[in-house]
Subunit: 331 residues, 2 copies
DNA sequence: TTGTAAGCGTTATCAT
DNA sequence: ATGATAACGCTTACAA
């Protein structure tokens, strides 16, 4: 079924296309009666303006790209939902791409979005594609979210990872743990680095260091959490506490313990990032809580503002994570 | 920074825009040397073709709309990821909208997507907007997913909800439960109806009926699961088993028990739809497992095929859910 | 093998 | 207050 165009509506209503356009966009002068008739014809014919043609003419896509590493992760999707709701209210729409932590997919995504002429790019990146991102940032407004790219001087909304991690380590030390395992993340991702930095600081201030065997190199995936469980629990002297640098790995850690037949409360655990189930079950699990909705609101705010003002100084917004220790009286 | 157009590239390369276009699209004849030079110029200038203009000219948006009720729900997002991956491979991209179960947002979304000239609409609907959807389906290929719209004769990929529910009830009956509570979903959503239907069948075949007080009217939200816990546990004679018709409500059910200070294994529970944590903790919880990835693949398959063939008979694909009973030896 | 030019469906400028 | 018409950036007959 061929789509109607403005021309046919004009013909049917007995006016010019210009008038239809004016009615559609509510601008310019147009007689009330004419307007009424035009609206009626539009309704009768069930005409829908072609947003593609409009975008081309106006040289405005009214679209915003958002590139995320994992769209099955509720953290990112809560963030995305809060961004989407604000952007839609402002007349923009989001083009989502899930990179599944792949630098190649990220690169493809950015090219694709550039061709779609996005007016703004929201990126929680893999840490790669630095040159590409720099180059893109010259023609479209880029906001980094969650993960920084310190090499790049771009608007950023992120959490204070180091501080929160330091607090977590201090708590574990205060609870008397001599051997604390750490499940690290990929070195290319800023949050992983900052979280590790916080760990090292916390240990240093207690006059300690991070023994290499107590630092497991994970990659933010569930599988690497399972690997960490195996690594730690097969040691001659396993740690008594573990700090997992993201929630997926925490989940994996517990899965790993279960596979090994080890009670889940054998370890005291701190997780950077909440798990859906943690409100239900707390096996000596404390959580650094994040606020994806707030992060999303800040991002949307930044985007909408910059889109309106057309530029401005680089902004850096920092969200403070929360701390939710397990309660010893429940499980 | 003004964006480059094909004209400037043509000028720089000393050829016509047509030639550039031919190089870009790899069609028509073009001299190897010329091609090489053009590609070099494109690279040097960092030219990116304008996808909006291309879409307008070709009268093809190469975009597919997908309307989901909850983009923070891993079930839908796993499905979405699997659809996206296939569609991107075929040169299409997805326009996501999250309706948050709101019929009004669904309506807005469909209008918006129509204006964007999507070539296909994938919809897990609220059950409302029937006329709108019928009307849209006359100009764009619609695939319903997860939730049917029996009034509409559209391609559908859904699960066999009734059968799976019946099996679940039979299992509970076999386990000796005399009083089985059911947490229902909204009547406007087909899955909720079909699941309830299965329950009634299962009971009927055992010569039983569903007592009104044992049927709690939920709305697929976590909150309504909490409400169900309260409702059931405050009864003079609470049920000994509960069948929750979706996963969010199951989660809420447990949260409710916890709030009431009732041990989570007081009830035997069956959940339609898995919970992230169920691989870790099983408090007498059996699960009807779904396969969002498979559902997504079927959807993508249908979409890609119909897009290629331009029509064809209405298809109905049914996915069989799995059954994962709790193991009595573990928790 | 390459170039010319029409046109995709709008909006916006300029007349009237 | 309304209408002609020239773009927007690309693709594609058709011509050369």
């Amino acid at each position: 079924m061929r789509k109607l165009t403005i021309k046919e509506v004009a013909q049917e209503a007995g006016v010019s296309t210009a008038t239809i356009s004016r009615v559609l966009n509510n601008n310019g002068y147009v007689n009330e009666d004419v307007k009424k008739r035009v609206l009626q014809v539009i309704d009768e014919l069930n005409y829908k303006p072609n947003a593609i043609a409009r975008s081309l003419k106006q040289e405005k896509s009214r679209s915003i790209g958002i590139v995320l590493p994992d769209m099955t992760n509720p953290y990112f999707m809560r963030m995305a939902r809060s961004i989407q709701s604000r952007c839609v209210a402002e007349g923009y729409h989001l083009l989502f791409v899930d990179t599944e932590e792949s630098a190649r997919k990220e690169e493809e995504a950015i090219h694709f979005l550039t061709e779609k002429r996005i007016e703004s790019l929201i990126l929680a990146g893999t840490g790669e594609n630095l040159e590409l991102i720099r180059s893109v940032s010259r023609s479209v407004h880029v906001v980094l979210v969650d993960r920084r790219l310190p090499a790049l001087k771009l608007d950023t909304v992120a959490e204070d990872n180091a501080q929160a991690s330091k607090t977590a380590i201090e708590a574990l030390i205060a609870n008397g743990h001599a051997r604390i395992g750490v499940v690290k993340g990929p070195e290319s991702i800023s949050t992983a680095c900052e979280r590790l930095e916080g760990v090292l600081q916390g240990l240093a201030e207690a006059g300690r260091t991070l023994e290499p065997e107590l630092a497991f190199g994970g990659d933010y995936s569930r599988e690497s959490g399972i690997g960490a469980a195996r690594h730690f629990m097969e040691m001659a002297e396993p740690p008594t506490a573990v700090f997992s640098l993201n929630n997926e790995m925490t989940f994996g850690l517990y899965l790993g313990l279960q596979q090994l037949g080890i009670p889940l409360d054998r370890l005291e655990v701190v997780s950077f990032g909440d798990l859906e189930f943690s409100s239900l079950f707390r096996h000596r699990l404390s959580v650094i809580t994040q606020d994806p909705q707030l992060v999303g609101e800040e991002v949307a705010d930044l985007v909408v503002k910059k889109l309106g003002m057309n530029g401005g100084a680089v902004q850096n917004r920092i969200i403070l994570p929360g701390w939710s220790p397990y309660r010893k009286d429940t499980n």
